[in-house]
């Protein structure tokens, strides 16, 4: 028998009791049935405690207890703690429990892997990550994960997204925020995040706000949705002041935010170009009197002479490298390159300004008109010209001057002015009138159904983004392979004589020309030929979904025009020529027409997608619209041998 001193037995007993309680709580069968629908993971408890003490100090603790129900969410067993000099990891713990709530294992810190946080972009950064994978063989199992951080730069305050994943139900979620009376915080609510008000402790002068959520059902994975962030309830925590490196100032409105960033971006004469560079630019534009041409030349100079390399160091990577640095190395990140562009323009007395922006997600999140919230991950340059603003993506060596791709178009960003003014500005918006994909295919079909054709394509604005990448980022061989894959309906087709023509413009155009050989495209059995004239673009089929939850989004605004002329072998005659088909709706418009002229069969298709986001309740009309197009797109003509 093991002897245990008396004074320890109580402690032991306490531990046993505690353990017993925990075991009860964590058993998977305690999850209410009502939460299991669509759920593959259940957050049993999520507890966020944020204590903002000053402009350069906040503590943030997060405890998450979640049960992974089956293998479809097994990737969630990978736990990560990101940290950096401004986001200090103070503590982290994890343990895993089986279905009965019995402890399988507690992990000590030496079992975690520590490595550089590779953001996939930066060549170098000082962010690091600790990670561990707690995956278990037997489902369900429960993970208890605790993290504690010290936040030294309030730009790193978390953005609270109520639903951060699909297929995840939430049993309890509590969030509490404390802040001193003399350091006010504003809360910005989006997409219907529950509003709460603070209470003040008269003794400590501390404000306290609390949110509690119970029994939030899981969102199923649904097709044709915008990014989850676009429609999940969001809470932004906006401190009255920010301190970035040695720069401090109020930052609750866009004007204040712009003012602070103006200091961060333009202090220390970071813009001043070396005299050699001034001479170079002078020489570049000496014979040019037209301002627009000068702007374009300067952008081309930047594109030709610099490239994008991200180095994120110090003050969270918020302070851009100087003009001199970029000039010397010929590279920089988005901030440095945008500032470089501004500096180059300035040598010619042209006013440019950096715009900080949330790039990537389309459709972009709506920004509150007055309140800030750090939504930014990228910087571009704006130039005012003729009462209009021109936009330049300075990290690209190939984009047409004045054109923004899908990455930053159609959204609002924050303009940072050198003199401290600045505010929200809308970037270029490209509609279905500019984004056009046009195809003209002219071919002959032989007796075995094989088609030899010439295809001419012309795409513009956002419609040419794909071809732009294809043309500029891939070697010719690769291009062919990728294009072959694009022709989904032309099995075994081979492309030859491919040529491109790129037309620079603020609505750039790419033209392609190629010859196609499509073996056995016409489907011949005995005396019949079955032929789908719609060879290039076909609409998808949308399955029935009576319980649609998410809003509907099926892609950006775009016009698709296909014109196909095919000469057929003489011995086949068409059984019946289909009548014209026209469809109109809030979502877009569609038309499809057939014609026979001499021995040529002519097909015309025009589909315009308006690129709107629609409420879930419109799902049925969305489905009907698409499926009508789907049917017509898959229409097959029948011919008989004479």
């Amino acid at each position: 028998m093991i002897f245990i001193p008396k004074k320890y037995t109580i402690i032991l007993l306490f531990f046993c009791l505690n353990f017993h309680l925990l075991a009860q709580n964590l058993a998977s069968n305690l999850i209410p049935d009502s939460l299991l629908k669509n759920a593959h993971l259940v957050i049993r408890e999520k507890n966020m405690v944020l204590n903002i003490e000053s402009v350069s100090k906040a503590t943030y603790s997060l405890k998450t207890i979640f049960t992974i129900l089956d293998a479809s969410e097994n990737n969630r067993s990978l736990l990560t703690c990101n940290y950096s000099p401004d986001y200090v990891l103070k503590d982290f713990k994890a343990s895993v429990y089986d279905a009965q709530g019995k402890l399988i294992k507690k992990f000590n810190s030496s079992e975690w892997i520590d490595r550089v946080a590779n953001d996939g972009v930066s060549i170098f950064n000082d962010d690091r990550v600790k990670l561990i994978d707690l995956e278990q063989k037997k489902y369900p199992y429960t993970i208890v994960f605790e993290e504690k951080y010290l936040i030294k730069n309030l730009l790193y305050l978390p953005r609270i997204q109520l639903y951060s994943n699909y297929k995840e139900a939430i049993e309890h979620f509590s969030l509490s925020i404390d802040y001193p009376d003399d350091f006010p915080i504003i809360f910005e609510y989006q997409n219907g995040f529950l509003e709460a008000s603070s209470t003040i402790n008269s003794k400590t002068n501390q404000h306290h706000v609390e949110w509690n959520f119970h029994h939030l059902k899981a969102l199923p994975v649904e097709p044709f949705t915008p990014n989850l962030t676009y429609y999940s309830p969001l809470l932004f925590i906006i401190p009255s002041q920010l301190k970035v490196g040695s720069y401090q100032g109020p930052a609750q409105t866009w004007q204040e935010f712009a003012q602070l960033f103006s200091k961060i971006y333009f202090d220390h004469n970071q813009l001043n170009p070396p005299s050699k560079l001034v001479q170079e630019i002078q020489k570049l534009v000496e014979n040019e009197s037209d301002t627009l041409q000068i702007i374009k030349k300067i952008y081309k100079y930047l594109q030709h002479n610099t490239h994008y390399i991200s180095v994120q160091l110090g003050a969270g990577g918020f302070i851009p490298f100087s003009t001199n640095y970029v000039y010397k190395n010929k590279y920089g990140d988005c901030k440095a390159l945008s500032n470089f562009m501004v500096a180059l323009l300035k040598t010619q007395g042209i006013k440019g300004f950096p715009i900080i922006i949330e790039a990537g997600i389309t459709p972009a999140l709506t920004l509150n008109a007055t309140l800030t919230g750090n939504l930014f991950n990228h910087v571009i340059t704006g130039v005012i010209y003729n009462q209009d603003t021109l936009f330049f993506e300075c990290t690209s060596q190939t984009l047409s001057p004045g054109y923004l791709s899908d990455f930053t178009a159609n959204r609002r960003g924050l303009m940072i002015d050198e003199n401290g003014q600045g505010g929200l500005i809308a970037t270029k918006s490209y509609t279905e009138n500019e984004n056009v994909y046009y195809n003209y295919l002219n071919g002959q079909m032989t007796n075995d159904g094989t088609i030899k054709a010439n295809l001419f394509s012309k795409s513009s604005a956002l419609a040419q983004d794909f071809d732009h990448n294809l043309y500029f980022s891939h070697a010719p061989d690769e291009r062919l392979n990728i294009m072959n894959k694009m022709f989904k309906y032309l099995k075994n087709a081979t492309i030859s004589n491919l040529s491109f023509n790129v037309v620079d413009s603020i609505f750039p155009i790419i033209e392609e020309n190629m010859d196609l050989n499509i073996p056995f495209y016409g489907n011949i059995t005995g005396k019949r030929l079955i032929l789908n004239m719609n060879m290039l673009n076909r609409q998808f089929n949308v399955p029935l979904d009576s319980a649609r939850i998410a809003p509907i989004y099926s892609g950006k605004a775009m016009t698709f025009i296909d014109s196909i002329v095919l000469s057929l072998p003489e011995n086949f005659s068409l059984n019946e020529l289909p009548t014209d088909f026209i469809l109109q709706s809030d979502l877009g418009s569609y038309e499809s027409r057939y014609k026979i002229i001499n021995n040529n069969l002519i097909y015309f298709r025009k589909y315009i997608r308006y690129g709107k986001v629609l409420p879930a309740s419109d799902f049925n009309s969305f489905r009907m619209f698409n499926n009508k197009i789907y049917q017509r797109d898959n229409f097959e003509l029948i011919f008989t041998k004479k």
Partner: protein, 666 residues
């Protein structure tokens, strides 16, 4: 004799010189830091047109130094790269990882680099400075130095020279002659003293010129008994095309031109000889002696009651042998989190049992330990999986192995077992194990044998029977027996999706969104019996069509699974195994209709029955019977047959699309 050797060497040099053209001789002579305006003009006619970047020179050297009885390996590398276009600027960022740990120190001892730009036919030189160099600890044992060249634009040439020094002499740096960019000249020289014995492995299809010479290790103090002669091996290649990533390749490593090394022994006077594995016998012995592999031999008495309990578990199938019960237990209890032939550091059977997870070695060696406890004759087998590249009989090299399985004698039959994969059945191996050489590890007598991809036959079939009901709809059944690979994948789907989602997705796969076809009541059999193929049964319905003529594709829009997009092929096409697929349809003709046209019977053969496609349709009164067969009888097709393969597939695709025409009777 010595004279002759010298003469021979001289001849080789002359002969070599004779073979090289002017440009090649220039390349060989090129020195780091010395560049002329002419060097910007490259002759690319013999390699890929329009690459993003071209490696002009890639020159490496490994040699040893000896100071104070400490041997060090020095590795130098000189790269000169031309940036051809904007996309190629990526090639101007270098990463140099250096391994280190407490006992073996590795460090980057020299680093220099320049960017050259041609301006008005003059070379402008920019040297890399401290702010172009970034060093970080990427993981526990690796420090990576990243170099981002300054002043790089289209047309720039960047040049890098670096040297690493390592006190760990058993890792002689390998050399890849072929990379993502085409290379005009690649050369690697390895000079190693005789007291370090090593084996050399050359792979790939590029024509390399190799030579061997002898030298002497210079050292300040003579160490008696030390053989300081060195062998100098050199390989060089010109105009090497870029390595292509293509579909239907098991591992691109198999085709990459590369040289690698394995140190076999280290003799140093006054130190015990260190020996490394040069034969499979030695490999086998060292594996068994290694705690990270041999752990299954330990006493592990605590395991006995567990084995006993598993064997006598009343809930398991009585027909199962004890071995099968043990296999099922291990497979269903342990989670696999990676490949490897060694167990994880600090693994013991006991903590594998506790954590319920481990890598392939952890799990299959646990299985082995349990089988041995149950008095079975069983052995571990080590191999390299298909995506890890093939191994060769002549090259006993532990580094190239990445997988452990088990062979057991059960009822006088040999069974190969892999309990690491959650849906793998008893006596079955995942397809990726069929990769040629495998070695049964037995003390003193390892047995090499072949896991031939020819023996990995993926057999499946579909049977559809459709009758006509009173309303003139087609009603009937859809049955599919999945092949082994498909079975594992579908079992996984069943486990991770709700039944409704699974049914819906599967139905869509079969109907191909054809709104006339309905698939319902999908039932899967043998979901839990992983030894057997998964069977699928469903009801199938096709809505009546009252048109004067009905067109039916008897394969219901099924696609061929082989999609090749490239117009040219560099490497062989590997299927990893054989395929045997049969599709059968029994179709009743609706009343009032007769057959107007049916596809022709056809047999299409590719290259001596390497692939065979059969299409056979039989017309009976009011009935049609179709049989389609596709057989792939070779695991590999040579790149030279690529265009014929495309023609074959186009013809097969055509047959897949053909249709039946039914016409209303008058």
């Amino acid at each position: 004799m010595r004279k002759y050797k010298f003469l021979l060497f001289f001849l080789v040099i002359c002969y070599g010189n004779y073979l090289f053209g002017q440009e090649q001789t220039e390349l060989i002579k090129t020195k780091f830091g010395k560049i002329k305006p002419e060097d910007f003009n490259l002759n690319l006619t013999t390699i890929d047109s329009n690459p993003n970047a071209v490696i002009i020179i890639s020159k490496g050297q490994t040699y040893t130094t000896l100071h104070d009885r400490v041997v060090k390996l020095i590795y130098t590398r000189f790269e000169r790269i031309k940036i051809m276009n904007k996309e190629g600027i990526k090639a101007a960022v270098f990463e140099i990882p250096v391994y280190f740990n407490k006992s073996r120190t590795g460090r980057l001892s020299k680093l220099k680099g320049y960017t050259y730009n041609l301006i008005n036919n003059k070379v402008q030189t920019t040297e890399i400075k401290a702010d172009n160099i970034f060093e970080e600890q990427t993981s526990k044992n690796y420090r990576t130095t990243k170099v981002s060249f300054p002043n790089v634009t289209e047309g720039s040439i960047v040049e890098l020279f670096y040297e690493t020094t390592s006190s760990y002499v058993y890792d002689i740096e390998p050399w890849s002659f072929q990379t993502a960019y085409p290379t005009l000249f690649s050369q690697y020289t390895v000079e190693i003293p005789m007291f370090i014995q090593f084996a050399t492995f050359l792979s790939g299809t590029i024509n390399l010129k190799s030579s061997i010479d002898y030298g002497n290790l210079s050292m300040p103090v003579v160490i008696p008994g030390l053989d300081t002669r060195t062998s100098i091996k050199k390989w060089e290649g010109f105009n090497i095309p870029a390595l292509k990533i293509e579909p239907f390749i098991s591992s691109v490593k198999n085709y990459q031109s590369k040289v690698s090394f394995q140190v076999s022994s280290f003799h140093f006077p006054g130190q015990p000889d260190e020996l490394y594995n040069t034969t499979w016998e030695e490999v086998s012995k060292s594996l068994l002696d290694d705690e990270r592999f041999g752990l299954f031999k330990n006493a592990n008495n605590w395991l006995e009651p567990i084995v006993e309990k598993v064997i006598s578990d009343p809930t398991t199938n009585k027909e199962f042998s004890a071995a099968e019960k043990i296999f099922n237990f291990v497979r269903d209890h342990f989670l696999c989190d990676g490949n490897g032939i060694f167990t994880k550091p600090y693994s013991s059977l006991k903590n594998i049992f506790e954590s319920k997870k481990g890598n392939v070695a952890d799990i299959n060696l646990t299985l082995l330990a349990m089988l041995l406890k149950a008095k079975y004759t069983a052995f571990p087998i080590v191999l390299s999986t298909t995506n890890n590249g093939v191994i060769f009989q002549q090259q006993p090299n532990l580094e190239r192995l990445n997988y452990v399985i088990v062979v057991v004698v059960d009822n006088d039959k040999y069974k190969f077992l892999d309990a690491s994969q959650p849906f793998n059945g008893y006596g079955l191996l995942p397809a990726y194990c069929y990769n040629g050489q495998a070695i049964i590890i037995k003390k003193d007598e390892p047995l090499q044998f072949e896991l031939n991809p020819q023996n990995n036959v993926q057999k499946s079939n579909v049977y559809i029977s459709l009758l006509v009901d009173k309303e003139q709809n087609w009603v009937g059944s859809y049955t599919k027996n999945f092949n082994q690979e498909e079975s594992a994948a579908v079992r996984q789907e069943i486990k991770s999706k709700s039944n409704a989602v699974f049914q819906q997705e599967l139905a869509r796969q079969i109907t191909k969104d054809n709104s006339a076809i309905t698939i319902k009541n999908i039932k899967c059999n043998q979901i839990e019996v992983y030894e057997k193929p998964l069977e699928l049964d469903a009801e199938m319905e096709i809505k009546k069509d009252s048109a004067a003529e009905i067109y039916i594709n008897p394969l219901f829009g099924q696609d061929l699974n082989y999609q090749f997009n490239a117009t040219k092929r560099q490497n062989p096409i590997e299927f990893g195994g054989l395929l045997d697929y049969t599709y059968e349809l029994d179709l009743d003709i609706p009343h009032g209709y007769e057959i107007e046209d049916i596809p022709e019977n056809q047999k299409i053969i590719f290259d001596n029955n390497q692939m065979v496609f059969l299409y056979k349709i039989v017309e009976e009164p009011n009935h049609l019977a179709l049989e389609v067969k596709l057989q792939v009888n070779t695991p590999i097709i040579l790149a030279s047959r690529y265009s014929e393969l495309l023609d074959f597939l186009a013809l097969v695709n055509k047959k897949y699309k053909e249709f039946i025409v039914l016409k209303k009777n008058n």
